[in-house]
């Protein structure tokens, strides 16, 4: 209902992306900024997992990003980690004003390593760049860490929209390029049913996979 035009299957590739990171760093607002151009100073906390999509154009191809926003609290890890499976990209978000959230990035990397596919594209995202005066994590340090771990990197502000589109697009492009280069193995894909027939899709054909993920996630 929310987006009828997306409902019409007018895309070429479907990309599953997860949004992870500590509670309160701004994941949900990054997502609402990206998909609806909205920001909420007073949004509710995310419980379990929430879902949104947006279609991007890269190389004349329509990439539909299917993004899963997760709850940051430890207790939800068992539930949320089930969603890492089949993801092609992940954004690990921290808050540039809160060094603890940056220090936890390695924990989040480990989470991905344990639960996600190996060839996943990962981006490190330092959010709340509008709060420069409160900065606790130097850009250079995070950039360095990202390079060392082969992660993409951006600093964003969900509040004033700085770099938000860029950060998602960057991930989508990287996934797309990777797919083009080595035909990503998608056999573990789980999620939406692919469009019927006419479009090229990364996803398996209907039916082939539909009974693979019936078990409950935890």
């Amino acid at each position: 209902m929310a987006d009828m035009e997306d409902y019409a299957y007018d895309y070429d590739y479907l990309l599953k992306i997860v949004l992870i990171g500590d509670s309160g760093v701004g994941k949900s607002n990054l997502l609402s900024r990206f998909t609806r151009n909205g920001f909420n100073l007073d949004s509710k906390s995310t419980i379990g997992v929430e879902f949104a999509t947006k279609t991007l154009e890269v190389d004349g191809k329509k990439l539909k990003a299917q993004i899963w926003d997760t709850a940051g609290q430890e207790r939800y890890r068992a539930i949320t980690s089930a969603y890492y499976r089949g993801a092609m990209g992940a954004l690990i978000v921290y808050d540039i004003t809160k060094p603890e959230t940056y220090e936890n990035v390695s924990k989040w990397l480990k989470e991905l390593k344990d639960h996600a596919d190996d060839n996943l594209v990962v981006e490190l995202v330092g959010n709340k760049s509008d709060l420069e005066h409160l900065r606790g994590v130097p850009t250079e340090e995070a950039k360095h860490f990202a390079a060392e771990n082969q992660l993409l990197f951006t600093e964003t502000s969900a509040l004033n929209a700085d770099n938000v589109d860029l950060s998602f697009e960057q991930v989508a492009k990287a996934i797309y390029n990777m797919v083009k280069k080595n035909q990503l193995d998608l056999s573990d894909y789980s999620g939406a049913k692919p469009p019927t027939g006419q479009t090229i899709s990364l996803t398996p054909t209907p039916g082939a996979e539909s009974n693979k993920h019936k078990s409950n996630c935890c």
Binding site: D42, F51, S210
Partner: protein
């Protein structure tokens, strides 16, 4: 403090009984705690009875049960003892109303109706409501409240003026015996203050505190009441204390939501009828009252969570169980929908996790939630079992729409359902549908899972 009451327009007697202000209106603070308790007091003797799930506090309370279980049990039942103390909540009602008819409370429900020519049918409806109100009032004023009767009536909705006391009875916080209420409330409120003192003078558990701090401003952000500092500080204390006293789960996001119907309902007992509790700044209340609201909320939340604690422990097995039950149920109730969800690769956990974790509070309004809890508190296992039937009724409600949607549309729809304008009628329909599913399938689902 006390002086601030004048703007609430409470008359002296109302204030002193309802809000436990000092007997003078001058703003001097009374130290008498017992006055605070008085509002619950009337006389009578107890008939201890067991409810199936929420037993009387004195029967199962885990913390310092220095109580009178044995002595009460051995007391003779129903010693004639007429209530001598008029229940203050009810006084609040009648005193706020000009009695233009024999029944002031009619004006309370719909003052405009009295001024206009109304159709016979509407009048009849009002009369039915009114008589129901009186029966309810009578029930909770009994010296020993008949819990079976109360549950039966409360299942269909509690008049808002009688909700605070009814909820406290139903949850098992308030003794059914009105004689014991004052002492009990005094004890539990003192105990709460002691625990707060104890936990907040030592070093806080940083992680727990941090998470609560992040979530407080994200709690019912659209309702003005939850933006006030006083509300936020109260909720903070309640949640932190609960968390440190329940280390197996600790604070889990969503528990903040669950504290608010209690908080808001108990707060409503302290303010004037015409004042909308959702707009009310609690800092205008005396500290005694705030403490009492907080303590009552804390203990009732504790009671509620006792029944669903496995929703919040490691790996959240309670939620997983409920999600599986929901899936089984929907397969039986609406096979077509169930098949469609399967075909679209929609897993129940993807959309119903939050329904379980927050008891549908993220899906429906606070008002609707409060009405729903009247019923949940009257069901033997309202929050852990009946809730699953409510979720089934809720999902099946959208069956026609959902069956036309694909994975993505289904997810988006259920994440942001069109329930914003739901009225009490919608909730009641949902509850009665759930009741039917429960009576049809209650024992069948257990068998299914084997």
């Amino acid at each position: 403090m006390g002086a601030s009451f004048s703007h609430l327009g409470l008359s002296n007697d109302v204030v002193s009984s309802v809000v436990s202000l000092p007997s003078s209106n001058t703003g001097k603070k009374s130290s008498s705690k017992s006055k605070n308790l008085q509002r619950w007091t009337s006389s009578g003797l107890s008939t201890p009875r067991d409810s199936e799930h929420y037993t009387d506090l004195d029967d199962d309370w885990d913390s310092n049960v220095e109580n009178c279980l044995t002595s009460v049990n051995s007391q003779p039942k129903f010693i004639e003892n007429k209530p001598t103390f008029e229940y203050p909540l009810i006084r609040k009602i009648s005193s706020g109303v000009k009695s233009s008819t024999d029944d002031g409370a009619l004006a309370l429900y719909a003052p405009h109706i009295l001024q206009e020519e109304e159709s016979h049918k509407e009048l009849e409806e009002m009369n039915a409501k009114l008589s129901r109100y009186h029966r309810f009032k009578h029930l909770v004023e009994e010296s020993t409240v008949d819990m079976d009767k109360l549950k039966k009536m409360a299942w269909n909705g509690i008049p808002s003026e009688l909700r605070p006391i009814s909820w406290q009875l139903l949850v098992g916080y308030l003794p059914t015996n009105s004689n014991r209420r004052e002492a009990q409330l005094h004890r539990k409120r003192q105990e709460y203050l002691g625990l707060i003192e104890q936990e907040f003078t030592k070093e806080k558990d940083a992680q727990t505190w941090h998470q609560i701090e992040i979530d407080i401003p994200r709690t019912n952000p659209r309702i003005k009441l939850y933006g006030f500092k006083s509300t936020q500080r109260s909720l903070e204390r309640i949640l932190y204390l609960w968390a440190v006293r329940h280390p197996a789960s600790g604070y889990v996001q969503g528990i903040n939501d669950l504290a608010t119907p209690f908080y808001q309902t108990f707060l409503s007992a302290y303010i004037k009828d015409e004042t909308d509790v959702t707009q009310f700044d609690p800092s205008t209340l005396p500290k005694d009252s705030i403490d009492a609201i907080e303590a009552d909320t804390f203990w009732c939340l504790t009671k509620l969570l006792e029944g669903i604690q496995d929703n919040y422990i490691h790996a959240q097995p309670g939620i997983i169980r409920q999600v599986n039950e929901l899936k089984d149920l929907v397969r039986r109730i609406d096979t077509e929908l169930s098949n469609h969800l399967d075909d679209e690769n929609v897993e129940f956990i993807q959309f119903s996790f939050r329904w379980m974790n927050c008891l549908l509070m993220r899906e429906i309004s606070m008002e609707s939630t409060i009405r729903m809890w009247d019923t949940y508190l009257s069901e033997p296992n309202g929050f852990s079992e009946f809730h699953v039937y409510v979720c089934a009724a809720y999902l099946v409600k959208w069956s026609d729409e959902l069956k036309k949607m694909d994975f993505q549309a289904i997810m988006m729809f259920l994440q942001d359902p069109p329930t914003k304008n739901w009225t009490e009628k919608d909730v009641e329909l949902l509850l009665s549908e759930a009741f039917i599913w429960q009576s049809l399938y209650k024992n069948a689902t257990a068998h299914l899972r084997g």
